[in-house]
């Protein structure tokens, strides 16, 4: 096994004397602080665990809510809850399980595992992990707090307007939902962006895409789907909150809006979301089955194909949640067919798993028990799904408890059971200890039987005609006994889950110490110490197989002895490989930032913004938006050649340069990935504009556009010139040319300021009445979007100028301008599209 920086010679001062010294030195650099400073931790292992533990806490909360529901429905004519409280409980059960449990816990698992599986030492934007965690935590707390106030959202977890509008939901419930969920989604997006970049750019040396563990493929797809899928919901939430708070009629028919726009934006997110949950769970199955079958996954290529196809199709399916809103028959047929196409990639995976077991020698361990449970429940959910797809049958059972049962079979079977299998599988890695096989089996069987008792029976209740979402029912329909059985089984299931949770909690203290790689797995995460150290690996290996630990059982030992790459500590930096996105060839050394308060403070400031928006203290919200912005910018200050980043760029002879000394490092990739998310937001906005324009029943287009085209074009020219200046500077840096660098940055900032001023002018002179017509409200949102992005580009360019003066950026550290210029490019494209869509098209086509 060769590695490019290991020509160990006796005179090499950095060559560690022994593995233990190396370990201690690495611990010095990577170790976690304790006490209050634990809030500054950016390490993915710690944060991944925090995500998962927090997710489990919310799972328990969501579970308690479901117990309340089952108590209310256990017997007819119950007065345990009023209909109002019941609506709050059901809405929060769905919301908590979807947004605060399912997505975050899977993200947490990915955050924890991905770097370990791909042979990296951390995720590529560690501070972003921390920001994401605190946004999730604070958002979740704010949202849950609404229940304590008895002000929880009650318009359903899908928040259909006008029911969720200020007129029909006058309380704070919907605001809690919209603001809290948007806050939590910052976390999902952060995780999405950094996981994409981590998988694409920080795999260890030689790990080409086709040698990547299959789990990484699933997570890559999940992360990309989050990046594309969440922005539509963020836009929808922002618009609905604007409507509720200040009365901009985006969804209100009388003001020219359309409630269906909310449904489109919601399901543009909501359908991919089902697969965002399902794909990682399927990834767990695809990881575990080969290990327990003792042979490689059959048809790796087929599975990758299935993953990619699922990802694409899922974005074409949102309308199938809206078949009943009255859309054209042709569109319906198209979306019907597309919905059914998803069956193909799913079936491929199921049969790949079967074939792998068939051709292997399976062992039946506890994780496999959960996989078996997954298989039975998920297939059952799939079969009832096919029944529901049969239109005439759908008429009979749609909106009855049959659908509730089906949905839980798919979600619990498709997500929870694989997750449990995964937890039991990786538990020895998390803790270094084995859970109790006995309690584990009891927990499984109680959960499995309780689940089927609850929901298998519920199919029948639905067939007898019991509708969904009713808070009580009369005696005499023949539903009583089935509801009672469902409720009892529900409590059995809870007991099972409690047992599992207790088992997991206890094993951290009492579990038998696990032997190394207890399941005889093939992937790199098992080359970690158990539990893992903060830096994961003492040295980073070169990989030339999909199954490193099977093909080279000695690898964990040699890695721990520092016999592979980057076992250098004298520089005091947190380092790992940056590799080519496809081939896995080493391109640079990525140096990661250390622990930092900024993410915590930024998240805290955002939490204050969220709370002040809820309490309608808008001035305070404004102040804290600025404070959060300052924190985030201050955070970005500690990059490049800053003393806290990498002031010294020395690398060992033969090693590639530090990423801040190149121009295509992970920051560029992160910015590009973020631009995809931003672009998805922008396209959703454009969709909204054209949708309202063409479809909204009472849309009013003014005779003359209120926007001055001349001013907007002038703004666009200023911005394009500014971007041109940036481009020239970056091109210069690429050929080692830095004349007038600082001046150039200030110049582009000035041009940016001109654009911002002109856009502001056109906004102020347009005389918009955004609370009167949706047309004006949409224009306002578009212009504010342009203003925000213009201002951001301006500030970042000005900061680059300052940083050149400080010596943090320049020929010796040319990395950041290459990142900032991407924002400029994005702005130029979107601004001209915006001018065309809002300013030119209405003039050409007319109302």
């Amino acid at each position: 096994m060769t590695s490019i920086n290991r020509e160990a010679t006796p005179q090499d001062p950095q060559q560690p004397e022994g593995a233990q010294t190396l370990h201690d030195d690495l611990h010095e650099i990577w170790g976690n602080p304790r006490g209050i400073k634990a809030l500054t931790i950016v390490n993915h292992t710690t944060l991944g665990l925090r995500f998962m533990v927090t997710g489990m806490v919310f799972f328990v909360i969501g579970g308690v809510l479901s117990m309340l529901i089952r108590t209310q429905l256990a017997t007819p004519d119950q007065n345990f809850m009023t209909p109002d409280i019941y609506s709050q409980v059901t809405t929060m059960h769905g919301t908590v399980m979807m947004f605060l449990f399912a997505i975050p816990i899977l993200e947490g698992l990915a955050i924890y595992l991905i770097p370990k599986m791909i042979g990296a030492r951390d995720l590529v934007c560690p501070r972003l992990t921390s920001l994401g965690y605190f946004c999730y935590l604070f958002g979740g707390i704010i949202l849950s707090f609404s229940m304590v106030l008895e002000m929880a959202p009650d318009a359903g977890w899908f928040m259909y307007t006008p029911l969720s509008s200020s007129e029909y939901s006058p309380g704070l419930g919907s605001d809690f939902w919209l603001l809290g969920i948007t806050f939590v989604e910052i976390s999902a997006l952060s995780a999405g962006v950094e996981i994409v970049v981590s998988i694409l750019r920080t795999r260890t040396q030689g790990m080409a895409l086709h040698k990547m563990p299959i789990f990484a493929w699933y997570i890559l797809a999940m992360a990309l789907m989050i990046v594309v899928g969440f922005p539509p919901l963020i836009l929808g939430s922002v618009l609905l909150e604007l409507e509720r708070a200040v009365g901009m009629p985006f969804f209100e028919v009388a003001g020219g809006g359309d409630p269906l726009l909310w449904q489109h934006l919601f399901w543009l997110f909501g359908h991919p979301e089902v697969y965002i949950i399902f794909l990682p769970a399927a990834g767990i199955v695809s990881t575990l089955i080969p290990v327990f079958a003792g042979r490689p996954l059959v048809g790796y290529g087929w599975v990758v194909f299935a993953i990619v196809v699922t990802g694409f199709i899922s974005f074409g399916l949102w309308v199938h949640h809206m078949f009943t809103v009255g859309i054209p028959q042709l569109a319906q047929a198209f979306f019907s067919a597309a919905s059914m196409l998803v069956a193909i990639p799913t079936a491929i995976q199921v049969f790949v798993w079967l074939a792998t077991l068939w051709l292997g020698k399976p062992r039946f361990k506890l994780p496999m028990l959960w996989i078996l449970g997954f298989l039975i429940i998920f297939v059952c959910g799939g079969l009832t799904g096919v029944m529901l797809a049969l239109v005439p049958f759908n008429w009979q059972v749609h909106d009855t408890h049959f659908v509730v049962a089906h949905m839980h079979y798919v979600l619990v079977g498709g997500m929870f059971f694989p997750l449990m299998a995964g937890l039991y599988y990786w538990l020895p890695l998390f803790s270094g200890r084995m859970p109790s096989e006995t309690i584990g089996r009891w927990g499984f069987w109680l959960t499995f039987l309780g689940f089927n008792g609850t929901f298998l029976i519920m199919h029948w209740t639905g067939l007898l005609g019991m509708p969904r979402r009713i808070y009580t029912y009369e005696a005499g329909n023949g539903w009583e006994i089935f509801n009672l059985l469902s409720s009892i089984s529900g409590f059995v299931m809870s007991a099972g889950i409690a047992m599992v949770l207790i088992d997991i909690a206890l094993h951290f203290k009492f579990g038998k110490p696990a032997q190394h790689n207890p399941w005889k797995a093939d992937t790199l995460e098992w080359a970690n110490a158990m539990p893992p150290s903060a830096y994961n690996f003492v040295s980073l290996p070169k990989i030339d197989t999909r199954h490193p630990l099977w093909d080279n059982p000695d690898l964990p030992r040699t890695m721990a002895e520092g016999k592979h790459g980057l076992a250098v500590t004298s520089h005091g930096r947190r380092e790992m490989w940056g590799t080519d996105s496809i081939t896995g060839k080493v391109r640079e050394i990525i140096h990661l930032p250390g622990n930092s308060w900024w993410p915590f403070f930024a998240a805290l400031a955002l939490a204050v913004v969220c709370v002040s928006l809820l309490t309608r203290v808008y001035a305070l919200a404004g102040v804290f938006v600025i404070i959060a912005g300052v924190f985030l910018l201050r955070w970005s200050w500690e990059n490049g050649a800053h003393p806290k980043a990498a002031p010294d760029a020395e690398v060992r002879k033969g090693d590639p340069p530090l990423h801040s000394r190149t121009m295509s490092g992970p920051g560029v990739w992160a910015m590009a990935t973020f631009s995809i998310a931003n672009g998805s937001f922008f396209l959703s906005y454009l969709f909204g504009w054209f949708y309202l324009w063409t479809v909204s029943p009472q849309w009013r287009m003014p005779e003359v556009s209120p926007l001055s085209l001349v001013v907007l074009v002038a703004a666009g020219v200023a911005m394009t010139l500014g971007a041109g200046v940036m481009e020239r500077l970056v091109r210069g840096l690429r050929v080692n040319q830095d004349r007038g660098l600082a001046r150039g940055f200030y110049m582009s900032a000035l041009l940016g300021a001109a654009q911002v001023g002109l856009v502001l002018w056109s906004l102020l002179t347009a005389g918009l009445e955004p609370t009167r017509t949706s047309h004006d409200a949409v224009l306002l949102v578009g212009l504010v979007y342009a203003l925000f992005h213009g201002a951001l580009a301006m500030i970042l360019s000005a900061m680059q100028g300052l940083r050149v003066r400080h010596g943090y950026v320049g020929l010796h550290a040319p990395f950041e301008p290459a990142v900032v210029v991407i924002l400029w490019r994005y702005n130029v494209v979107t601004f001209w599209v915006l001018v065309g869509a809002l300013g030119v098209l209405p003039r050409v086509i007319g109302g």
Partner: protein, 298 residues
């Protein structure tokens, strides 16, 4: 019937897959060359992963598309009866614009002719509601500001249940619709009995209820319409209330004294409904109102 076919099919599939899965755990000693392994794997994946779902999907589409088409409101040689249904929080307004003696309006009951296609034009007055008569098929959303159309046909006369199919707020569970299909002649008679004149005659003719009518004008008229007495449109039209089978959108069966019960206890019977509680009115006033309204049986 279709249900039993599907149930047995589903059970067979479930048992087969589970058995297959468990069978793989049995220790077998088959040694295969890599080429053989690839062949076996390909057979599994192509057979189960592609052929199986494709065949199923085609079968489903072949079955589903023709049925879906029937519900489109395509032009017919003979224009069908049109019934307009509007969802309110939490009751149904039903209008017959094609009735021979002017528009007929009723609430919380939908009487339709059997044996012929009927076009429903549905919309909502406040939030989104769901129009759906399970036995007749076709669910369609009722959206504020928009009219959705659907064509349904009851083959035989009969009574069908229906309930709002889109979460519409606190009263969602209490938003039932009584649906009955009548033979054409009976339906025509039903419509004729509800002409403006006939209903007004019914409401105003009996002098015994003069004071009830007066109380109605004072306390109820701003929200409710009774033909010949009042013209409120905020709450359900009550012109033929006595002739309905249920009260409060399916909350209470229409029996003697039911209207009084409703007036007295409606916030308990249907919590959160939009009608103010009339605790200020004494029993005589309320029962007088109830007695009168129960006589409105065209």
């Amino acid at each position: 019937m279709i249900w039993w076919v599907m149930l047995s099919f589903a059970t067979v599939v479930l048992v087969a897959v589970t058995a297959l899965w468990l069978y793989t755990f049995k220790t077998r000693d088959v040694s295969r060359t890599p080429a053989q392994e690839r062949r076996v794997a390909r057979r599994w994946i192509v057979g189960g992963g592609i052929v199986l779902p494709v065949v199923t999907v085609i079968a489903l589409l072949a079955f589903g598309v023709p049925t879906g088409k029937r519900m489109l409101t395509l032009p017919l040689d003979e224009p069908p009866e049109v019934i307009e249904v509007t969802g309110h929080q939490w009751w149904w307004e039903v209008r017959y614009p094609g009735a021979p003696n002017g528009v007929v309006v009723t609430s919380n009951q939908l009487i339709m002719p059997a044996g012929e296609p009927v076009d429903f034009h549905v919309t909502a007055a406040d939030v989104i509601h769901g129009f759906w008569i399970p036995r007749l098929g076709g669910k369609i959303d009722m959206l504020p500001g928009r009219i959705n159309r659907i064509r349904l046909e009851a083959d035989e006369p009969g009574v069908f249940g229906a309930q709002c199919a889109e979460l519409c707020g606190v009263g969602h569970a209490h938003m039932h619709l009584y649906v009955e299909a009548l033979p054409r002649e009976e339906f025509d008679a039903w419509l004729a009995a509800r002409s403006e004149e006939a209903l007004a005659e019914l409401a105003t003719s009996d002098p015994a209820f003069a004071s009830a009518r007066e109380n109605f004008t004072t306390f109820c008229a701003s929200c409710h319409r009774v033909a010949g007495v009042s013209a409120g449109t905020i709450g359900p039209d009550l012109s033929d209330l006595g002739g309905r089978t249920m009260l409060g959108a399916g909350t209470l069966a229409m029996e003697e004294g039911a209207v009084y019960q409703w007036l007295r206890h409606h916030q308990t019977l249907k919590p959160g409904n939009r009608m103010p509680q009339h605790d200020d009115l004494d029993t005589d006033t309320l029962s007088g109102l109830g007695d009168w309204l129960e006589t409105l049986t065209p």
